[in-house]
């Protein structure tokens, strides 16, 4: 699991952007989706997730806003910006190329 984590860590931002392309979401929901999609094999640590949010926000790839839940505590939602979509597309392309090369090498 730890080796897998190291390999995946570099793609944390892209993974989050990928979740936000479908719809605006908040921390726990994003993490839950990641867990479900990987059959509980992968999950981000909270600290990693929120550090990534701050970095993405600073880069202008995502925006955040507070939800208007009437009951209970308010959630902070994130939405992807056009710049973020472009970055996601670019990162995905880079990954496809890397994957192809590594497949040939190992």
């Amino acid at each position: 699991m730890s080796i897998t984590s190291d390999l995946i860590r570099g793609h944390t931002e892209t993974i989050i952007l990928g979740q936000l392309i479908a719809k605006d979401s908040y921390g726990y929901e994003i993490n839950k989706a990641i867990q479900e999609k990987t059959d509980n094999q992968y999950e981000l640590k909270e600290a990693t997730l929120y550090s990534a949010f701050r970095r993405l926000e600073q880069a202008g790839f995502i925006l955040s806003y507070w939800g208007d839940e009437t009951t209970g505590a308010r959630r902070r939602y994130y939405s992807i910006t056009p710049l973020g979509k472009e970055a996601y597309r670019q990162n995905k392309q880079d990954w496809e190329r890397a994957k192809e090369l590594i497949d040939r090498l190992i």
Partner: protein
């Protein structure tokens, strides 16, 4: 249980700066952790186990706190640079003022040159240094908040305030320097010592007008 999660989060962030950003991050974290906890309990996990796995999933908050602190370093570096620039500009301007008066006296007294020429040289040098000062203080960037705390807001307000005061003070001191220079110059060249002192009364009026203009500007805001 929400309270237990809250106090745990408070504990983890005890060393973090008490800013709006950190406060919001903590709120966000607590809301999400509580939801996760509720989900785990809903799936049939024992409350204590659920709590433990929620806390374990937080991971290392140091990187989070470090990320929030990074902005401060950047700002203080920039401020330091600004401070040095101000010192350089102010000392340069003061030097030029002294030089201008020196030029005025030496051209008239040592070279016995035309008084008008001396005055032109004097005004050119003094005018240049005045422009330098005013330009610097007008174009000086606003204080950039390191974070959103009240302290920072106060600093920003104070800096706005002193910036204006500084401009006012430098204008007044420039005006008085000019007044003295003109007084000496006119008196020496024309020999009208009997009347030339009136310029100081005019100077006092101009002084008050400058102060009034700044006060009115301040009130309008």
């Amino acid at each position: 249980m929400s309270n237990k999660i809250r106090s745990k989060v408070d504990l983890l962030f005890a060393d973090a700066p008490q800013t709006k950003k950190v406060f919001e991050l903590k709120e966000e974290l607590i809301v999400n952790l509580t939801e996760k906890y509720d989900d785990l309990v809903g799936l049939g996990k024992a409350p204590e186990d659920a709590y433990n796995s929620v806390i374990a999933s937080i991971g290392d908050v140091d990187e989070l706190i470090k990320g929030l602190r990074q902005n401060d370093v950047f700002n203080s570096e920039r401020e330091e640079k600004e401070r040095r620039k101000t010192a350089l500009v102010v000392s340069g301007a003061v030097g030029l003022y002294i030089l201008s008066i020196l030029a005025l006296i030496s051209i008239v007294e040592v070279f016995r040159a035309d008084g008008v020429l001396a005055l032109i040289v004097f005004l050119l040098i003094a005018g240049f240094s005045t422009c330098m000062l005013i330009y610097h203080f007008m174009s000086k960037p606003k204080y950039i908040k390191a974070d959103d705390t009240l302290v920072e807001e106060f600093k920003e307000w104070k800096q706005e305030h002193t910036k204006k005061n500084q401009l006012c003070k430098s204008l007044i001191s420039i005006m008085w320097t000019l007044t003295v220079a003109i007084y000496l110059f006119i008196s020496f060249t024309m020999g009208i010592w009997a009347y030339s002192w009136i310029i100081f009364i005019i100077g006092a009026v101009v002084d008050q007008i400058i102060r009034l203009v700044f006060d009115m500007n301040g009130m309008r805001e």
